[in-house]
Amino acid sequence: MRTTLKITIAAAAIAGIATTAQAEEKLKVGFIYVGPIGDHGWSYQHDQGRLAIEKALGDKVQTSYLEKVPEGADAERALERLARSGHKLIFATSFGYMDSVIKVAKRHPDVKFEHATGYKRAKNVSTYSARFYEGRYIIGKIAAKVSKKGMAGYIASFPIPEVVRGINAFMLGAQSVNPQFKIKVVWVNSWYDPGKEADAAKVLIAQGADILTQHTDSAAPMQVAEEKGIKAFGQASDMIKFGPKAQLTAVIDDWAPYYVSRTRAVLDGTWKSEDTWGGLAAGMVKMAPYTNMPEDVKKMAQETEEAIRSGKLHPFTGPIYDQDGKLRAKKGEVLSDKVLLGMNWYVKGIDDKLPK
């Protein structure tokens, strides 16, 4: 008993909490998700981040969530409800919550808000996102090495900058190995429809792709790859269970380090409004173990990962030409975050036309 107390006091002292009264009151952390946590994709990964907060900070925090919150009128109410029920830190985990977050934050200056993938900030609103394109660059390189036909199939959701950026990074990675590499893109117009994703996977294979990657949530394309005996990359989570022989690696969303550090910052009183766009270095993007590939490819992948992590390599380093042959980045020039955030053009070598 006494030791626990001592530890608590020590912890409180370290954490810089002034009074014991505050230390005893749990910090309530709220989340809103756009999908069900049972989607095993986007919302599921965010919920894993929430659980990580509970695990890391134990009885100093209490977390709760609202799932399947539609973007629009309901989001504002959900946020308001969280703020009113004593949540002092609220994570809004979908782009479409942006304006609702700003509105509610204005009414609750004492509550800290964190909005994923948005660009509007305020004194008590931070934004955060992950540089998934770093991982996509690596898998592009792997694809170009492993593919025998030199062609990958890309299952895409919606033509927003996030997805376009991923396609471009994948292609740049692939071209760095094989300048003639080709990709075929299929837009399924959904984040999440296992059936459609499986159809798209089959179509891409029929059109000659012998490697699949996806920017949709379900593990269906991985299952198709496994069945057809080709290779694929997982998305959002490690999908090795769905493709033990097919998965080369997966670009994993890991929100845990960010969520834990932001929660800790609120506990410490050091929270400030920031814009975080972290990648491999920040631990927000992780690569699943490199499997089902030759040793030399594995080594190349690990080196690329390390180079990106250490900052030696930026996937969007010039010369970069777009589809129409226009120079977008000069030799050695790195595309700015602003350009990356609004990316709506394909790099040279992609045959697909971007739906507008």
Binding site: G38, Y44, L354
Partner: protein
């Protein structure tokens, strides 16, 4: 594998759940009942089939359980519309809500687990013939069942006395009742059959099409099935044709995209619905055709007045 072969296989996979669910709903509507809850029954069938297949290791048991679950979850709808003569449109929508919620609840523990895949049949000799083998003889049991059921439903409706009674109930329940036919019993059985077929469609999704469970994995297929029934003017063979047309248009669209034609994907997704409206108009213009096929009592409750 040739391009055409791969195309046909993909179309078959995409069309089978639509066909199964639509055949069920066709019988329901032929009996004069409109059940808008297909999506809910399908989702319940999917999760139960997945769970049972995983627990027992037998996908066939899973399929069976999924079929039964589809019928079981339709029971409140039967009670409301047949025993209490409640409004069918509203009860069906409530069933869709209920089924989706329930399936999510049951499936909570199964998210992220790979399922057990329903094996494809392999008929030595036949399945090995190039092209014909995989296209005709290399599918799982549910694909063949969907074809068999198309024929069976057509035969039942138009060649048996029971089918005649079912259609009579759907065309004019008062007259059927006067002739001594058990209107509500017929309708109850039809709804349960619809539940079984929707459950099978769901089972196909979670043990064959994509052997996994994620919430809301039916993704609107129950609603497309509803459209198909009308698209087909309540004729089983046309349901088959319609389901394959829907599947083919969708897969062709994906092919067009992969080939680099910059089609707006929204337009592609809207095609099946526009096609249904067009078909509805074409069919409805011909009054005799519509009158002979449309179950006149659709959506109207029946309560014997004694």
């Amino acid at each position: 594998m040739s391009g055409l072969e791969a195309f046909l296989l993909t179309v078959i996979a995409a069309s089978t759940p639509l066909l199964l669910a639509a055949l069920g709903e066709l019988v329901v509507e032929r009996a004069g009942v409109l059940n808008l809850g297909v999506e809910g029954m399908m989702a319940t069938g999917a999760v139960i089939a997945f769970a049972v297949a995983l627990a027992t290791g037998s996908p066939l048991l899973g399929v069976l359980a999924g079929a039964l679950a589809g019928a079981a979850v339709a029971l409140p709808f039967v009670f409301l519309t047949q025993v209490l003569a409640a409004n069918q449109v509203a009860s069906g929508l409530a069933l869709a809500l209920f089924g989706l919620g329930l399936s999510g609840l049951i499936g909570e523990g199964f998210v992220g687990q790979p399922g057990v895949r329903l094996e494809r049949l392999h008929i030595p000799g036949l399945s090995d013939i190039p092209f014909i083998g995989p296209v005709l003889f290399g599918h799982d049991v549910l694909v063949y069942l969907s074809f068999f059921m198309t024929a069976a439903v057509a035969w039942f409706l138009f060649r048996t006395r029971a089918g005649l009674i079912l259609r009579a109930v759907g065309t004019n329940h008062t007259a059927a009742h006067a002739l001594g036919h058990p209107v509500r019993l017929v309708r109850t059985l039809a709804i349960l059959f619809g539940g079984v077929m929707a459950g099978l469609a769901g089972a196909y999704l979670s043990v064959s099409y994509t052997p996994q469970w994620v919430e809301d994995m039916t993704a609107g297929r129950g609603w497309i099935a509803l459209a198909l029934v009308v698209f087909a003017t309540w004729r089983p063979l046309r349901v088959l044709a319609g389901a394959y047309l829907f599947g083919a248009v969708w897969i062709l669209g994906l092919h067009a995209q992969a080939a680099g034609y910059g089609l707006p994907p929204q337009f592609l997704s809207a095609l099946p619905y526009l096609a249904t409206i067009a078909a509805l108009v074409l069919i409805s213009r011909n009054r005799t055709l519509t009158l002979t096929n449309t179950p006149a009592m659709i959506g109207q409750p029946f309560m014997p007045e004694r």
